[in-house]
């Protein structure tokens, strides 16, 4: 597989920024994995290594005022929507400087002011929330769109159905973005639905459905861009299904008995979204291997700095325990 042609509207600078961002996402989650294994991060976490193109590509087409809703597997979305990796890492380290002051952890990172309406610990829980955020945009004529991430597994929750129907009849500016990474925890999408593509469910709501290569950054950008435009033009929602794969286990302690090593290798070797982008960049002579490596190293360094920031940050004081239950 080779990635799509680069859209003419993109500058080299933007492409290299995206390349850097995808590494930032990958290193962030690799680092979390490492600290988790060591017991330095507790609780639970869900890593998006291997899925960097969906987060980076879909969020790239958003304006700053656009909003996203994210999932339990949300670090990538968060970074791509412009979050500070220091504060993200600090949150995972349960520190006061974290996005949630240490109260939320991996599954609840949010940055409401910057339009990240939050990860969600409830599979499918964010989908109707995205609809509500889009309703605000429409009712107040704010012009923003909402990008709603969810997984293949979430597409079997009732909330998916209710939310898509609502958004469609109200013609709301929302893009439903399904990251189909082939499994909902251990449940293979092939066994959990009896159709080929989740994107085809769009027809139940009278909205367009797109099925795309989720590991191809430019395919993601193109489909999402079009959907966001449609949304902002008042033409209503779109359902996008992006085929991708999670490299790691579902969360901590996953023996991955539900899939084969061969399958994992195929996705890692043939469909690594970062490698695909690198090949395209080199082919198109937008940067040298050395330049790409420098971006990669820069990302690595940023994550190491984030860890340092997190480690040095203070823990929240016990006095905060009962704060912020009410506004």
């Amino acid at each position: 597989m080779i990635s799509k042609e680069i859209p003419a509207s993109l500058t080299t600078k933007q492409i290299l920024e995206l390349y850097h961002q995808m590494w930032l996402i990958r290193y962030f989650d690799e680092k979390v994995d490492e600290f988790f294994a060591r017991g330095a991060i507790h609780g639970t976490t869900h890593l998006c290594v291997g899925q960097e193109a969906t987060a980076a590509g879909a969020c790239f087409v958003l304006a700053e005022e656009d909003k996203i809703t994210s999932t339990h597997r949300g670090h990538g979305h968060c970074i791509a929507k412009g979050a500070d990796v220091n504060r993200m890492m600090a949150e995972l380290f349960a520190k006061e400087t974290g996005y949630c002051k240490g109260k939320g952890g991996s599954m609840h990172i949010a940055d409401v002011d910057r339009g990240n309406l939050g990860a969600n610990g409830i599979v499918g829980g964010g989908i109707p929330i995205a609809v509500g955020a889009a309703l605000t945009s429409k009712m107040k004529d704010l012009g923003y769109a909402v990008l709603c991430f969810f997984g293949d597994g979430a597409a079997n929750e009732g909330s998916f159905h209710e939310a898509l129907n609502l958004a469609s009849i109200w013609k709301l500016p929302v893009v439903f973005f399904c990251e189909n990474n082939q499994y909902g925890m251990s449940g293979p999408v092939k066994e959990m639905v009896n159709i080929e593509n989740i994107g085809d469910r769009a027809s139940s709501y009278g909205i367009p459905g797109r099925i795309i290569e989720g590991n191809d950054l430019f395919a993601v950008m193109e489909a999402t861009g079009e959907a966001v435009e449609r949304a902002k033009a008042g033409e209503g929602p779109t359902l996008i299904e992006a085929k991708t794969y999670r490299w790691k286990g579902h969360s901590k302690s996953d023996a991955k008995k539900y899939r084969t090593k061969e399958e994992e290798q195929y996705w890692r070797k043939e469909k690594d979204p970062i490698a695909l982008l690198a090949v395209r960049i080199i082919n198109d002579e937008l940067a040298t291997n050395d330049e790409l490596e420098a971006l990669q190293l820069q990302a690595k360094k940023q994550i190491e700095d984030a860890v340092e920031f997190a480690e040095k940050s203070p823990a929240p004081s016990l006095a905060t325990l009962e704060l912020d239950v009410y506004a």
């Binding site: 109260k103 409401v112 002011d113 309406l117 409830i122 609809v131 955020a133 605000t136 609502l166």
Partner: protein, 332 residues
């Protein structure tokens, strides 16, 4: 302020209109709230005044519309969500208790969810087991929610205005049997603070703490007992969260005897919380008799009207409980 005779239902509608006229961010969503006027007619006429954008008729998708309210609230609106029967909270529970109630805390104090969920609870209309529950204790158990249960038109209007202006998710329990009850209500906007109980009738011998429709039964019982020379104080907490513990403790400390009565199933009902708050407080030392707690029987609400009636406390039950507590007090 000018007052006008209003039903409970009209008072609620009035609160909604007054707020919607002055605050563009306030809007209503729910099933059949448009031309139909809502399952109990509360929103009648509102779509004519405010149009279908702000009186937003929804499909039958309780979890979807609750989530839409959460998302809208989180991004700057002040939605009033109507669920036709409070039993249907069971379909929207995730959105209400995992999302709305927790978002601000989970996010470390960022974001807020100023929404009101209005919904009628209670039995007495022959609607049977799936349309007659009183599950306010559930909501009161969840940090992050406020829970309101007005028992009169006056309270309903003032509390609803406060609920709409509150920056937190508020569960506003109406009662089907109260919709038609009338009393003089100020025409202007006024507020009753959340967390302030009211003494519906003063008395010295025993405190009856009653909620929602039971306030009226308690007042009836008080009248009957008055004839026997027993002075009952009737206290209506009005909001369960925040709970006006101070007023409860003050009244109980004064009378030394308590009957708690709600329509919800007694087992694990909110009456248990009120009883516990009392015995944990300094009022314990003033108690001259064990607390009497009345609540619904541990049965789904049956359809047959006689059975239905007996599934929840009646005036006579309150009268007897008051007498028991006075009697018991004497023995000790």
């Amino acid at each position: 302020m000018n007052t006008k005779d209003m039903t409970y239902s009209e008072a609620i509608r009035d609160a909604i209109s007054l707020k919607m006229r002055t605050d563009e961010d306030v809007f209503m969503l729910g099933e059949d709230i448009g031309v139909y006027g809502g399952a109990f007619g509360v929103s009648r006429g509102l779509i004519e005044e405010f149009g279908p954008e702000r009186i937003r008729n929804t499909p039958i998708s309780e979890s979807g519309i609750a989530g839409a309210a959460v998302g809208a609230a989180l991004t700057g609106m002040r939605p009033i969500l109507e669920l036709q029967f409070s039993d249907f909270i069971t379909i929207a529970t995730d959105q209400i208790i995992n999302q709305a109630a927790k978002i601000r805390y989970m996010y470390g104090g960022k974001g807020k969810v100023p929404m009101v969920l209005r919904t009628p609870g209670g039995s007495g209309t022959g609607a049977a087991a799936q349309h007659s529950q009183s599950l306010e204790a559930w909501m009161a158990h969840i940090p992050g929610l406020k829970v309101v249960q007005p028992s009169s038109a006056y309270d309903a209007k003032g509390l609803l205005i406060s609920a709409i202006e509150d920056d937190n998710p508020v569960i506003f329990y109406e009662h089907k049997l109260l919709y038609g009850m009338k009393e003089p209500v100020p025409e202007d906007l006024y507020r009753i603070p959340l967390g302030k109980a009211v003494i519906k009738k003063e008395g010295t011998d025993v405190t009856v703490i009653a909620t929602s429709v039971m306030v009226h039964k308690a007042l009836e019982a008080a009248k009957l007992l008055e004839a026997e020379g027993i002075e009952v104080e009737v206290l209506d907490p009005r909001t369960l969260v925040p709970l006006d513990e101070a007023s409860i403790i003050a009244s109980v400390s004064k009378t030394g005897r308590v009957v708690i009565v709600h329509e919800a199933v007694k087992r694990a009902g909110f009456g248990a919380e009120i009883a516990s708050v009392i015995v944990e407080s300094d009022a314990f030392d003033f108690l001259d008799a064990p607390i009497e707690r009345l609540g619904g029987k541990a049965v789904p609400i049956p359809y047959n009207p006689e059975l239905e009636k007996h599934a929840v406390p009646q005036v006579s039950d309150i009268v007897e409980a008051v007498k028991r507590t006075l009697q018991r007090g004497k023995e000790v």
